[in-house]
Point group: C2
């Protein structure tokens, strides 16, 4: 049976980390909110699940995944749930925790990237918080982005199984998520990202290898991949790209 | 062998979620950065680990836990690592993912509580972002806090094993973390929290039961529990307590 992925239909957002895992594994899934309302899909279908009072494990917010009777929300928890079945995580419990730790650090950086354009509140428009956004983006581009990327570089380089993957010698969801993080940074902060990535060659090589995986490459060319835009987490506001 | 917990010594912060799990389970641990420098402990000992280039799984930031050869960072990943040994999570893989999902939602709310006093950037003083903090805190107190607490109420009430715990019929780290969240909200936003918690009686009862667990109660009375203060995540700035 196909997985149901529930996420906002017009942005990559946090749902993209789940999409990439499903796509890289060739797993069948329905991108529910992007489907037609006449077919019982679309945003109303997602909202019905979100507000379903019969769910014992209700999601707090999208993205969430439905797999038969199982409902899982929170990006990192969804990936952890899917990964053993999709063969996107090692068998060892210790390496599973390490993979989750990397994912949570990626999620922290994603949150900080989001906050560059919405420091005062996600409920307000960017236009209502532009001076604050500039202060926050300056700190993000100059301090936080290099610091995070140097950490990812360090863990790739220190991987005792080689620098082709973040965890051991096999593809994991953390590799896919790091790919997506680099994609997002390059879109939102082209100058700052280029500068920071110049000192993290192993991260860039890992990104490029993921992009070339046949299923990932096919997905990126397809219309299942929503283009980056200025409603998502990674937004190209040139004034916030502080190189 | 005792666990080593590494976290900033003067605040509860994110380290407190790990401390509570260790304390509730009666597990032996060393709170490294709170120890004496002459004894090889203190913040320098934590910094040495953070910057140890020999670590294959280096932490990005505190808190982190050292258990023999294993180093784990990220609060939710640390709890996931500890929980089976400390008997603070169910055996079923599905309930383990659900427990993690709850923990990640608590972490999201903790992040949002932090951002009320530091919306523009964690690197700046509160005094340099007071107007923005007020805007952010207003949204947090009026919209986000009730929304999160209603979700916790719903999942306690819907627990098919009864409302004494969040997951199944046994204590889990998610219960301890929800206790800490309520403690923090009551400290930082006494009026707003009282108002929101008035509609979530099951959350309040769960909090009170955790506070009465003998080991937790003994810990809370001890000097191992750092008092809340205005350097941590939950800060009492009366002007931000929008009831």
């Amino acid at each position: 049976m196909a997985y149901e992925l529930h996420y906002w239909p017009t942005i990559q957002g946090r749902g993209e980390f789940v999409r990439l895992a499903l796509e890289a594994a060739g797993a069948p899934y329905i991108d529910v909110a992007r489907g037609a309302e006449e077919a019982g899909l679309g945003v109303p279908a997602m909202q019905r699940c979100l507000h379903d009072r019969k769910l014992v494990h209700p999601p707090f917010a999208p993205p969430f995944l439905i797999d038969g009777n199982v409902v899982v929300a929170q990006t990192a928890a969804i990936l952890q749930y899917l990964a053993p079945t999709l063969k996107l995580v090692a068998r060892s419990e210790q390496l599973r925790v390490w993979t989750q730790q990397i994912q949570l650090t990626i999620a922290d950086m994603v949150d900080e990237a989001h906050d560059t354009h919405h420091p005062v509140g996600a409920g307000l428009y960017y236009e209502d918080q532009k001076p604050e956004a500039l202060r926050r983006a300056t700190d993000f581009c100059r301090v936080r982005m290099p610091k995070f990327l140097q950490w990812f570089e360090a863990i790739v380089v220190r991987n005792t199984a080689g620098t082709r993957h973040l965890v051991g010698g096999k593809l994991s969801y953390a590799d896919l998520s790091l790919f997506q993080l680099v994609e997002g940074l390059r879109y939102a902060f082209p100058k700052a990202a280029q500068q920071a990535l110049a000192s993290t060659p192993a991260v860039v090589q890992l990104h490029d290898r993921i992009a070339d995986l046949p299923r990932v490459a096919a997905y990126l060319r397809s219309d299942r991949r929503i283009p980056f835009n200025e409603q998502g987490i990674f937004r190209r506001y040139p004034e916030l790209d502080i190189a």
